[in-house]
């Protein structure tokens, strides 16, 4: 994104909105004046005559502006007591600049870094210990008394880069004087709202004060009635002007606030030169159960200063002080099209928060830490949830490749141990569909990482190759590096050689006993009806050739590919045993061929369930 342009735009817009706000105040004053004129014009004479009484304007303006001003000033004084006071009121604890706790130290460091980048004095740093949500705010009327407060959730759940993004956002509020702007508007809103309260008081109390006596008909009573009427009408006018004014003023304030949020997001990118940090923080908030909610009862007072909306579902979009998360992410990352991160995946992040984001694509570190705790349920890592989440799907893919590294695959030293092979294939499907939501560049990177992972170890086996083929097929198309295979062959004979290679490989992989492999191949080959052919010695064929053969097969018509898949099933189940690995293999082949997984019930005499239970 072009953050300079974004900043200009946001500044301009919020400037325009400030004019609107002044207009709202003026129109409140004028409407009170007009009401007073109308009232005088009507009550003073029998017939209505309109003479503009401009000399009345100071009075009406005084009646409206004085209470407005008093309340506004009080509010202003309360708010401008320095950022620390606000943070303290919300249950914050100030961090000593020499804190030694690792996370606190990190926060202080990050604040210092961003202050340097923004050219600010380092503000006070506060922690909201009681808040598990991810949120932060900046307070203080000017940079010299500013404070940044960060929730505990922020510290625990955000990586260093994300924290930097959040702090950058808050520093922008300080730098751009947003707090001052907000104080002004807040104070004025309080003032306008005070008119409403004043009007309410007049309307309620007037009858009580003058309604006491029962002396009817007296001249005094008539005078009193006139006064009561006058006060009631004045109260009503103030009440209406106050409520309508406050309504529009809030609307405008919320709109200004939303613009400032965009500006702050853009500035965070400018300071940190890293759009991913703040973007990922926003995505995390979107996916996290506690989101950005703050529990403190006074949090609505600082709503406009927060990193994200602090109250849940309370504001309608017109009154929201913050733009919707998805829109903020979109402005930072135009290519983003996914939903926010999956909630269940985020819930388990305290332990893996940093790995998830820093190593999502390199994977191995995250695995180191997960090797001990590996149960699919209950132990803290839910691979299904990780696979559903675009951000973490890369980790799952790399993990699966690692898990299948050996042909025996099952004792792979990763958190996937307790998933059986078919479950792993489900994980693969989930992770592949989630990974397609990532931006293209990231998908490409992930694809490269997968290839690296496969090539890195010496044992580049057939099974890994099949998996990689299927990953390539899905992600290659998603990242735009590979067009979907076009159909080139309608005749089986032209694919004969490729079929021979693939089935030879399947016969070896699907049949344990050396002696039975020829029979498996013969049966499978026979079903294709392409004449006689010997089984090739797969050990003598480079893996790349098999890969190429599979790629050629993909260019056949659906009928041809279907026939090949059926033969593959035959080759695998010929020996009467279908292991989980073999079932998974067939699924991978089907996937590599661009076909749905074979129908086991009809394709094989034994269902997978039977195979598994007997295994």
């Amino acid at each position: 994104m072009d953050f300079f342009a974004a900043q200009d735009e946001a500044r301009e817009r919020s400037g325009r909105l400030l004019w609107l706000f002044a207009l709202a105040v003026t129109s409140v004053v004028l409407s009170v004046h007009v009401a007073a004129e109308l009232f005088l014009g009507w009550s003073g004479h029998a017939e209505f005559e309109f003479h503009p009484h401009w000399d009345l304007l100071p009075w009406t303006a005084g009646v409206t502006l004085v209470p407005m001003g008093i309340v506004a000033l009080t509010k202003w004084a309360a708010l401008s007591g320095g950022g620390g006071a606000v943070a303290e009121a919300l249950g914050g604890r100030r961090l000593a600049p020499d804190a030694s706790d690792f996370h606190e130290r990190q926060l202080l460091n990050v604040v210092e870094e961003v202050s340097i980048a923004a050219g600010l004095r380092v503000p006070e740093v506060w922690i909201l210990d009681e808040e598990p949500g991810i949120n932060a705010f900046a307070a203080g009327a000017d940079p010299s008394c500013a404070a940044i407060a960060v929730s505990r959730g922020c510290l625990e759940r955000l990586s260093r880069d994300e924290l930097q993004g959040v702090v950058g956002h808050e520093c922008s509020h300080i730098l751009n004087g947003d707090m001052r702007l907000n104080f002004h508007t807040m104070a004025w809103i309080a003032g306008i709202a005070a008119l409403f309260v004043l009007g309410q008081v007049l309307v309620r109390l007037t009858p009580h004060f003058f309604g006491g006596g029962n002396r009817s008909g007296s001249r005094k009573k008539q005078e009193e009635n006139g006064l009561v009427f006058l006060l009631l009408v004045a109260g009503l006018v103030l009440l209406i002007a106050g409520s309508v004014g406050a309504f529009f003023a809030r609307l405008i304030q919320a709109a200004i606030s939303r613009q400032r949020e965009f500006l702050a997001d853009a500035s965070a990118v400018q300071f940190t030169r890293n759009p991913e940090g703040i973007c990922n923080a926003l995505k995390k908030i979107g996916g996290y159960v506690d989101g950005s909610r703050l529990h403190s009862v006074r949090s609505t007072e600082v709503a406009h200063m927060l990193f994200c909306d602090g109250a849940a579902g309370f504001f309608s979009s017109f009154f929201a002080t913050h733009p919707p998360l998805s829109e903020r992410i979109h402005r930072l990352e135009p290519a983003w099209q996914g939903a926010v991160s999956d909630a269940s995946a985020q819930a388990l992040e305290p332990e893996v928060a940093e790995e998830t984001h820093d190593n999502a694509l390199t994977g191995t570190d995250a695995f180191e830490s997960q090797r001990t705790a590996s149960a699919p349920a209950g132990s803290g890592v839910d691979w299904m949830a990780l696979a559903r989440n675009a951000e973490t799907s890369g980790r799952v893919l790399l993990g699966l490749l690692e898990a299948f590294e050996e042909e025996s695959g099952f004792d792979a030293p990763s958190g996937l141990v307790l998933y059986n092979t078919l479950e792993r294939m489900t994980l693969l499907d989930l992770a592949l569909s989630a990974a397609r939501q990532l931006p293209k560049a990231q998908v490409r990177k992930l694809l490269e990482d997968c290839e690296q992972q496969v090539i890195a170890d010496e044992s580049y086996n057939l099974f890994e190759m099949m998996l990689l083929q299927s990953i390539r097929r899905h992600l290659g198309v998603a990242s735009g590096t590979r067009a979907p295979a076009a159909v080139c062959y309608a005749d089986g004979m032209s694919l004969r050689g490729a079929f021979q290679v693939v089935l030879s490989a399947m016969a070896v992989l699907g049949t344990d006993h050396e002696a039975n492999r020829d029979a498996s191949f013969a049966t499978a080959w026979g079903a294709l009806g392409l004449g006689e052919a010997p089984r090739l010695d797969v050990a003598q064929i480079p893996v790349s050739v098999i890969e190429g053969a599979l790629f050629e097969c993909e260019k056949g018509t659906a009928v041809l590919r279907g026939a090949l898949l059926r033969s593959c099933v035959l080759a695998v189940e010929m020996d009467g045993v279908m292991t989980e690995l073999e079932a998974a293999l067939l699924r991978a082949v089907a996937d590599a061929l661009g076909l749905p997984a074979p129908d086991w019930k009809t394709g094989s005499p034994r269902s997978v369930e039977e195979v598994n239970s007997g295994h």
Partner: protein, 202 residues
């Protein structure tokens, strides 16, 4: 009549002279302020680099206990650190000298390279990575590096603003007379890096 024309003429000249003087004073002050800004930014880089050079020996000492087989890497880090440190001292003695900036940047680049290698190697030592002291030091070092790069951005921005102000008409007319010179950016100037790749069609 004559007199009044002469008076008007003199008055106009005096006013014009005052205007020019005011403008001169204004642009002089502006340039001084801009120069102070980037000098201040430079001081920030200086402070952070010094801190970095103080942290590295601690890190090496901590790592030495765990990485017995990586003596060469550790020695290389220490050597590169010393080189960069003395380059910084040379620059401090002669602030803003473009040649000194270049030699510091070169040394910094070398240090960055060996530090990267050290970090990569340390991945293989889980106990080292889990060591509390090491974690703290790594965090401090990361932060310091960020601060250096942010301060560098700030310095370069300030220098650019200054240089632009210096070269803009009409300030450019008096800048050299007032003793201002263009300031050097804090960035590597390597001819080889900037050269376009040669394409061969043979």
């Amino acid at each position: 009549m004559f007199l009044s024309v002469a008076v008007i003429f003199v008055a106009v000249v005096v006013v014009l002279f005052l205007l020019v003087l005011l403008w001169g004073v204004g642009s002089y002050n502006g340039l001084v302020a801009a120069r102070a800004r980037f000098q201040n930014a430079f001081a920030q880089i200086d402070v952070q680099l010094k801190r970095r050079y103080d942290l590295i020996p601690n890190l090496v000492e901590t790592a030495r206990g765990f990485m017995r087989h990586e003596r060469e890497t550790l020695e290389a880090v220490v050597a590169a650190r010393n080189q960069a440190s003395s380059a910084l001292e040379a620059l401090s003695a002669n602030p803003m000298d473009p040649a000194s900036i270049q030699s510091l940047l070169k040394a910094e680049k070398g240090l960055g390279g060996v530090m990267g290698r050290l970090m990569a190697v340390s991945e293989a030592y889980p106990e080292l990575k889990a060591n509390q002291n090491m974690m703290q030091l790594t965090e401090e070092l990361t932060s310091t590096e960020n601060k250096v790069s942010f301060a560098r951005q700030g310095y370069n921005d300030a220098v650019t603003t200054f240089n632009v102000a210096l070269k803009t008409f009409p300030t450019v007319l008096i800048a050299s007379f007032l003793g201002f010179q263009e300031a050097a950016l804090f960035e590597v100037k390597e001819a080889a890096e900037k050269e376009a790749p040669k394409v061969s069609f043979s």
